[in-house]
């Protein structure tokens, strides 16, 4: 179960709307206890995919290192990654799966016509063959 507090949730939606029709991406900071995650801050990061970004995103490792550092500085943990699917449902695509990491929750935001539509959270496996749905509360 992952719970996103109102402030980071608003920041994530604003970020997704702002970069629409491109995909946005960023990280979620918070705490995780016995499988219950609570996100208290969202950190928008740059989509560094080189090419059309309407249906692809890529996070720079340097940005992840910096985000991890920022989390430590705030006494929080980096517990999830978010990205948007413009004009598309919030499913976990093959591209998402093949470039995922089982350490984190992956929140996907469906943005339709520039506006938030729905969202899902996913937990990919080690083999990158499957992602289980995770209860998402926002």
């Amino acid at each position: 179960m992952i719970r996103i507090e109102p402030e980071p949730w608003a920041a994530m939606l604003a970020h997704a709307r702002q970069v629409y029709p491109d995909e946005c991406c960023g990280v979620m900071l918070g705490i995780s206890e016995n499988g219950a995650k609570s996100v208290s801050a969202a950190l928008p990061l740059e989509n560094s995919f080189e090419g059309p970004r309407a249906a692809r995103y890529e996070l720079r490792p340097e940005d992840l290192i910096a985000a991890e550092k920022a989390a430590r500085g705030r006494n929080l943990d980096l517990i999830g990654i978010y990205h948007s699917h413009p004009d598309c449902d919030a499913y976990f695509s093959q591209t998402d799966l093949k470039n995922s990491c089982p350490w984190y929750s992956f929140v996907v935001l469906s943005i339709r016509g520039g506006e938030f539509h729905h969202a899902n959270s996913w937990l990919p496996n080690f083999e990158q063959t499957e992602a289980a749905g995770e209860e998402l509360i926002y």
């Binding site: 109102p6 939606l13 890529e58 413009p86 506006e115």
Partner: protein
């Protein structure tokens, strides 16, 4: 010993340590020693074949070891090794499956948030889901838009569009409670959206930074279930009405003036529209705006909340909608009255034989000029005089009359020294007090009333009459900041 920084999710395998120092001369040796010390970590970083997992990048300080010597990269005592996941993705490649989430379902958080709604049997889960699925367009983020925006956001409307192109002015703060003192100078859209999202982060706010026009109205309105009219001028009011009739969307109407307000729902199926009530606009200038006529700051709160109530009732389909009834509110008498409104079968837009089947030029229809461009606003036309020129005349000691046609209580707030007060309503009766041959400069607050006074004077044979462009507001801005603006 080189240090390894442990990413958050892996700290459960290192006894919560975020940094581990392990011996080793190369990166490969360090990672080997690390996973030997913490066996559970091994699966996270290495495949069964002992290769680093594809989603793990290993960094030595700030360099990816793939571009150094890979596993054999030398690790010094002072080096820091980071395990960085490689993350990317995108919506492409496979066709999306059917929608997995029901957009209008309520999460547990929402159930708690809206509990006082949910325990009303008239609302309940079903009703709250209707509110969440609803799309409401607010035309204007001013006096009426302020309470509407705040309460509709709190009530759980799913999407609220706002059309506004204005910026927050300090004179708005007396009534437009969605804007704070610190917002002066900001776009009303940004200021309003920020407050609404602070109240309800689940809300989706769509901002339209434009005037509503005949060209864009249908495209903007078509995506919404109903429209709430919070405008302050007749051209836009007729435009909203006609667009709502043409699209078949209810128009939740409100208007305010000094201490009185009105509210009703127009263009509801079977009900009357604004044109059934007012087939023709009033003559330009007859009905003053809030800026000219003043308004009790609380009044738009009362009227806006009646509009918000009717909006929520329409979405929920409960109660008796304010259709076919014009609610009149008098704040001084503290009375509500109701007038019956009937649909006019001859109505040019919603009648049996409509003659208006598409949007028209509403500025022309209302006999008012289209909003001036910035260039036009500063241009001084025939019969007008710029404030700086008036000041220069004074400084040169020229003999002329500066005639102030505002009301006495306005004169008390601010006046230009040396001016003479004759309120607009008395000008035609008191012509005898003025010399028809004199050089006369007329001013009011912003230039509207003085333009009318100039017309009266010219008609009476006064020849040397000019209107001071921009009124005492422009005087305060550009000549004497010591004169307060109001």
């Amino acid at each position: 010993m080189p240090k390894v920084l442990i990413p958050t999710p892996l700290r459960q395998f290192t006894g919560k340590q975020d940094t581990v120092s392990v011996p080793g001369g190369t990166v490969g040796e360090v990672l080997g020693a690390l996973t030997a010390r913490y066996p559970d970590l091994r699966k996270q970083i290495f495949t069964d074949e002992g290769k680093v997992r594809s989603f793990v990048n290993v960094y030595l300080n700030d360099e990816d070891i793939r571009y150094l010597g890979k596993d054999a990269t030398a690790a010094q005592e002072s080096d820091t090794i980071s395990l960085v996941p490689s993350i990317a993705g995108g919506s492409t490649v496979t066709a999306p499956p059917e929608t997995t989430a029901d957009a209008a379902a309520l999460s547990n958080d929402e159930i708690l948030r809206y509990s006082r709604h949910l325990i009303l049997p008239e609302v309940g889960i079903e009703g709250q889901r209707k509110l969440k699925a609803a799309k409401v367009l607010l035309v204007g983020a001013g006096g009426l838009g302020a309470p509407l925006g705040l309460y509709l956001a709190a009530a759980g409307i799913g999407r609220i569009g706002i059309v506004d192109f204005d910026v927050v002015d300090v004179t708005n703060l007396q009534r437009q409670v969605i804007h704070f003192s610190s917002d002066v100078g900001r776009k009303k859209l940004d200021s309003a959206a920020e407050k609404m999202l602070a109240i309800n982060p689940r809300l989706s706010v769509v901002k339209y930074e434009t005037a509503l026009t005949s060209e864009n109205a249908l495209a903007i309105l078509k995506d919404y279930d109903l429209v709430v009219d919070g405008t302050d001028n007749f051209p836009t009011r007729y435009l909203v009405n006609d667009a709502c009739v043409l699209l078949g969307k209810p128009n939740v109407y409100g208007s305010i003036f000094r201490f009185e307000g009105q509210a009703t729902i127009f263009a509801y199926r079977g009900g009357p529209c604004y044109r059934c009530l007012y087939p023709e606009p009033p003559p330009p200038g007859l009905v003053p705006s809030c800026a000219e006529g003043g308004v009790l700051g609380i009044l738009p709160g009362t009227i806006g909340l009646i509009q918000a109530t009717e909006t929520v009732k329409l979405i929920l389909g409960i109660g008796e909608p304010l259709v076919g009834r014009l609610l009149l509110y008098d704040a001084l008498g503290m009375r509500f009255r109701e007038l019956k409104l009937r649909k006019n079968p001859e109505c040019p837009v919603c009648g049996e034989h409509p003659t208006i089947t598409r949007l028209i030029d509403y500025h022309q229809f209302c006999g008012v000029p289209a909003p001036a461009t910035p260039a036009q606003e500063t241009q001084v036309n025939e019969g007008e005089i710029d404030v700086t020129e008036v000041k220069a005349k004074m400084d040169r000691g020229e003999d002329f009359v500066l005639l102030d046609v505002r009301e006495p209580h306005e004169y008390k707030i601010a006046a230009i020294s040396g001016s003479r007060l004759i309120p607009l309503g008395e000008v035609s009766k008191r012509l005898g007090e003025l010399d028809p041959k004199a050089d006369i400069v007329v001013h009011c607050k912003s230039g509207m009333r003085s333009a009318k006074a100039c017309a009266i004077l010219r008609q009476a044979g006064f020849e040397r009459v000019r209107n001071m462009k921009g009124g005492i507001l422009a005087w305060s801005d550009r000549v004497d900041r010591g004169v307060p603006k109001y």
